[in-house]
């Protein structure tokens, strides 16, 4: 890893996306990985696993992204995904105040349960639905073009979210997966924020150790008598 002749050191980072259903987690990932956007995307079931490289001046980061489903019933599976994660992206919907509440819950849970050095970014998505002037700052074409007459659907002010993020020392961004505004910036910022020490050149601890905690309580017993194998999640 420390060979100076080698191209650029490359390392894997396990990243997990959390947030309420339908805030645009999968759309953010799709924009980041494939530079693509789909209207009316169907909800994620379970979780999707994607990888994408991120080039920094000094090194290459290979993100191993766990895009989780936001529905309540999948909440009990979340620890499996954020365990040993080096980074987390907690997403809320700018047009939906309850989604920020949920995001705060996730942040609290991550700070309590996830690995101590985890880098958390708070991301307010769906900026394209607001008519903020700041969306024009990005040199992306396609946004900021909306006329002032289209109603501003923003329900969560930048200040509110930002002050919360500062309080909890999180990275903070407002993005639009639809226009692509700020999406890559989030991931680059995360890549930069990850301390050098927690990086390993091969597959990170996050990747290989996902399989560490036995999950007996949820598996179907194939051999013995069939017993209730699953405790409730959403009742």
């Amino acid at each position: 890893m420390a060979d100076s002749n080698a191209p650029k050191p490359s390392s894997s980072v396990k990243l997990v996306l959390l947030g309420e259903a339908a805030v645009g987690k999968s759309s953010l990932v799709l924009r980041f990985v494939n530079n693509d956007f789909q209207e009316n995307k169907e909800p994620t079931i379970g979780a999707a696993f994607l990888t994408q490289k991120c080039n920094l001046p000094s090194r290459t980061i290979k993100f191993e992204i766990w895009d989780t489903a936001g529905q309540e019933r999948f909440a009990s599976l979340a620890p499996m995904y954020y365990r040993n994660a080096q980074a987390a992206l907690v997403v809320y919907d700018l047009t939906k105040p309850t989604s920020l509440v949920k995001a705060k819950h996730w942040v609290a849970e991550l700070q309590r349960q996830a690995s101590p050095g985890i880098v958390i970014a708070l991301v307010g998505n769906k900026l394209d639905l607001t008519n903020d002037s700041e969306s024009g700052q990005g040199d992306n074409d396609g946004d900021g073009a909306e006329g002032e007459d289209s109603g501003d659907a923003r329900k969560v002010s930048t200040e509110e979210a930002k002050s919360y993020a500062e309080e909890e020392s999180l990275l903070f961004f407002e993005t639009s997966a639809k226009t692509g505004y700020n999406v890559t910036d989030v991931f680059t910022a995360i890549a930069n924020a990850i301390p050098e020490t927690s990086l390993k050149s091969t597959r990170g601890p996050g990747a290989s150790n996902v399989v560490s905690r036995g999950g007996d309580e949820q598996r179907v017993n194939l051999n013995g008598p069939r017993e209730a194998a699953k405790e409730g999640c959403a009742c």
């Binding site: 979780a47 309540e72 017993e227 699953k230």
Partner: protein
């Protein structure tokens, strides 16, 4: 029976057509031959010099001769698979009155299956027969092509969304009207009357209807006489109660109660697959008024795509069977082997599926896969686009209710071309049709990376052998046309279900049934046939059904179910001939059409030979083979070793016989490979001896076939 009545008006039409050239229906791939075997007789007679109408006075012998020249080979094949060669024994009216059932290879002796159809056939003039055979080329459901469809007129708009309240252009009345115009509804509500799901219309719009439904159901419920179904106007209501949930199907498509009930059950299975039974029961045991929409959030699309596939008409659901990708036997075999070789320890089921059709399945011996579970998986992956569109790999907790409705399994899904490094972005979003998915199911929720590795191994192996391209191209190709399967028959479409394999096959819907309406008509006809054949207390074997716009045939034996459809004027002889041709094709292609290895048809042989050599070393040499064949024949090269074959014991080399250690090293699985089997046969003649390993092998002892007791055998082997 009815065929005669239905035939006459159409026959008259054909006679008119004799003067002006008849409108040529599109009949591709008939090459230069203008007509089918039957009608080519007329051409023969017309070619006589006089050319008058007198040609129709041909005696019955002449067609026989014509037929006889064209089908000796075919007759031979038919008899070889158990059918009597109908074509060669053709007599105008005898074959009409003959039961095809009496020739079917059923388990019961054919004697008691006296024709259901005999007796009502009046003799007809040969001219009439010839005319009739000419008009048999009329395709089924011509009337809808002419735009005369009645009940199904609105079917094209069936799946359109009803505009929601925010749309100011629509009044509530209009939206309700639109809602009522839908031909098929599914509703799910809790026994407390809380709406859970409705296929059409937001729940605000139909809340009152839900209330009415709940009232009606609970009225009967309280009378301890649960309501099963009722009819109102042309709509059939079917109610199913599953624990705390009410399911209602409202159909104006003419499906039978049991079919609608099966559809409702599938929706229930989808809910269980999301929640599992204990969770569902708990929810309602604790709070009967729970709004189940929240726990089910995000699965509405799955329910809807399932419901829509029922409304559109799905042969898979109708027959309760799966469709396989047609592949050469050797190709399927090497795919299976590549798949098996890469098997991860935590794997329960492994599937390769291309465009909703099975390519390969691996599963443990004790656990079979239930079609209804697979239907849920296929619906999730191929009908609703969520998984495919998300890209990447997926790790999905789901319950397979038919397998075990109490707990979750974890499903790894990866589309073969869906990984970013395989294709450029954006190309994989459009077609879920031909997409190939690898599905690996494990009971261990932490086994994602193990299964991911297995997937990579499988893909590497498939790529190396060029099989992944093969799968892709085969899946992209549509199903064969009927005209390719059974040329010169008037059959337009068929379904063939192999009961033992729980699989079915069908030809392409092109060119006759590619529109949604004609497809729905076809499926309605099939479901009607299916319902009639499977009606309680009916022990029908063959059903020949004639209507104004189609002729259909259903044929059910313990081995297969067969349904086919032809134009309204197709005679029974034509149908029978076509059916037999298709049957012959299905028999011939059986191992390509269906995945056979998944069944229980294994032949197990235990070969033991021992050579005692106690004097020299106190040890003795013994060979024990447990050989499992998936197919067996006297000819070694036709035998197929199953991957479950095992050899116990280690080979003792004799200096002059080369390294037989390579052949059977250790006791690991042998690969199903015919050459190895042949080598084995050859070497066995040379008395290769195998030294039994001096240890207990519990897996060996657990095989019931391997109980050999001999006084010379040490006790640890018994």
């Amino acid at each position: 029976m009815g065929s005669e009545d239905a035939g006459s008006p159409a026959g008259a039409g054909a006679a008119d057509g004799e003067e002006r050239p008849p409108p040529l229906p599109p009949r591709p791939s008939l090459q230069s031959k203008p007509t089918t075997a039957l009608s080519s007789m007329t051409i023969q007679t017309l070619s006589f010099p006089d050319g008058s109408r007198g040609t129709f006075s041909t005696t019955a012998d002449s067609p026989v001769a014509a037929e006889g020249t064209s089908s000796p080979a075919e007759g031979h094949d038919l008899s070889s698979i158990g059918f009597h060669p109908i074509g060669s024994a053709r007599k105008q009216d005898t074959d009409e009155s003959m039961s095809i059932m009496s020739m079917a290879p059923t388990l019961r002796p054919p004697g008691d299956l006296e024709s259901l159809l005999v007796g009502d056939m009046a003799k007809r003039s040969p001219a009439w027969m010839l005319l009739r055979s000419q008009s048999a080329a009329v395709l089924p459901f011509e009337s809808i092509r002419a735009g005369q469809g009645t009940a199904l007129a609105g079917f094209e708009r069936e799946f359109d969304d009803i505009p929601d309240e925010t749309d100011k252009d629509w009044s509530d009345g209009d939206r309700l009207q639109l809602w009522k115009s839908k031909l098929k509804h599914y509703m799910i509500l809790s026994s407390a009357g809380k709406p859970i799901y409705s296929r059409h219309g937001d729940l605000g719009l139909i809340n009152s209807s839900m209330g009415v439904v709940q009232t009606i159901i609970s009225f009967y419920e309280s009378a301890k006489n649960p309501l099963l179904g009722f009819t109102a106007g042309d709509a059939r209501f079917v109610v199913a109660t599953e624990g705390p949930l009410y399911f209602v199907a409202i159909s104006r498509l003419g499906e039978s109660d049991s079919q609608l009930r099966a559809q409702l059950n599938a929706l229930y299975m989808q809910i269980l697959s999301t929640l599992t039974l204990p969770v569902l029961t708990n929810i309602f045991a604790n709070r009967p008024s729970t709004d189940l929409r929240r726990p089910l959030q995000g699965t509405e699309t799955l329910l809807s795509s399932l419901a829509d596939s029922f409304t559109r008409g799905s042969p898979s659901v109708l027959l309760g069977a799966l469709e396989c990708l047609r592949l050469r036997k050797s190709h399927r075999h090497s795919i299976n082997n590549a798949f098996l070789k890469a098997r991860a320890d935590s794997l329960l089921y492994g599937l390769i599926v291309a465009g909703g059709r099975l390519v390969s399945v691996i599963r443990p011996r004790r656990h079979s896969l239930h079609p209804s579970d697979l239907q849920l998986i296929f619906n999730m992956l191929f009908e609703s686009g969520g998984i495919k569109a998300a890209g990447g790999e997926n790790w999905i907790p789901l319950c397979l209710p038919a397998f075990n409705n109490r707990g979750y399994l974890y499903m790894y899904v990866s589309f073969l071309d869906g990984r970013p490094d395989d294709t450029e972005p954006g190309t994989d979003t459009t077609d879920t049709e031909g997409a190939t998915a690898i599905i690996l199911i494990s009971p261990d929720k932490e086994s994602f990376f193990a299964l991911q590795k297995m997937r990579d191994d499988v893909v590497t192996e498939l790529k190396k052998k060029g099989l992944s391209d093969l799968i892709k191209t085969t899946a992209a190709k549509s199903r064969p046309l009927v005209t390719e399967i059974a040329p010169n028959t008037h059959i337009s479409h068929f379904l063939f279900k192999s009961k033992a394999n729980v699989q079915f096959c069908m030809p392409s819907l092109q060119p006759t049934f590619d529109s949604p309406i004609s497809h729905r008509r076809l499926m309605s006809l099939y479901s009607h046939l299916h319902a009639t054949m499977h009606a309680r207390h009916s022990h029908l074997k063959v059903l020949h059904c004639v209507s104004d716009d189609s002729t259909s045939l259903a044929w059910v034996t313990p081995i297969f179910e067969f349904y086919c459809v032809a134009g309204p004027n197709a005679s029974r002889a034509v149908m029978t001939q076509g059916a037999n041709k298709i049957m012959q094709w299905a028999k011939r292609e059986e191992e390509r059409l269906f995945i056979i290895g998944g069944g229980r048809r294994h032949f197990i042989f235990v070969l033991i030979s021992a050579k005692l050599d106690i004097a020299a070393s106190g040890a003795f040499e013994i060979e024990v083979f447990v050989i499992v064949f998936t197919s067996f024949s006297r000819h070694p090269e036709r035998c197929r070793l199953s991957p479950e074959s095992r050899v116990y014991g280690s080979v003792v080399d004799r200096p002059n016989q080369g390294s037989s250690k390579d052949l059977w090293s250790g006791n690991e699985r042998t690969r199903g490979d015919t050459t190895r089997w042949k080598m084995h046969m050859r070497r066995r003649k040379k008395q290769i001896t195998v030294k039994a390993s001096q240890r207990e092998d519990t897996s060996l002892l657990s095989i019931p076939y391997l109980e050999f007791k001999s006084k010379n055998t040490p006790t640890q082997y018994t």
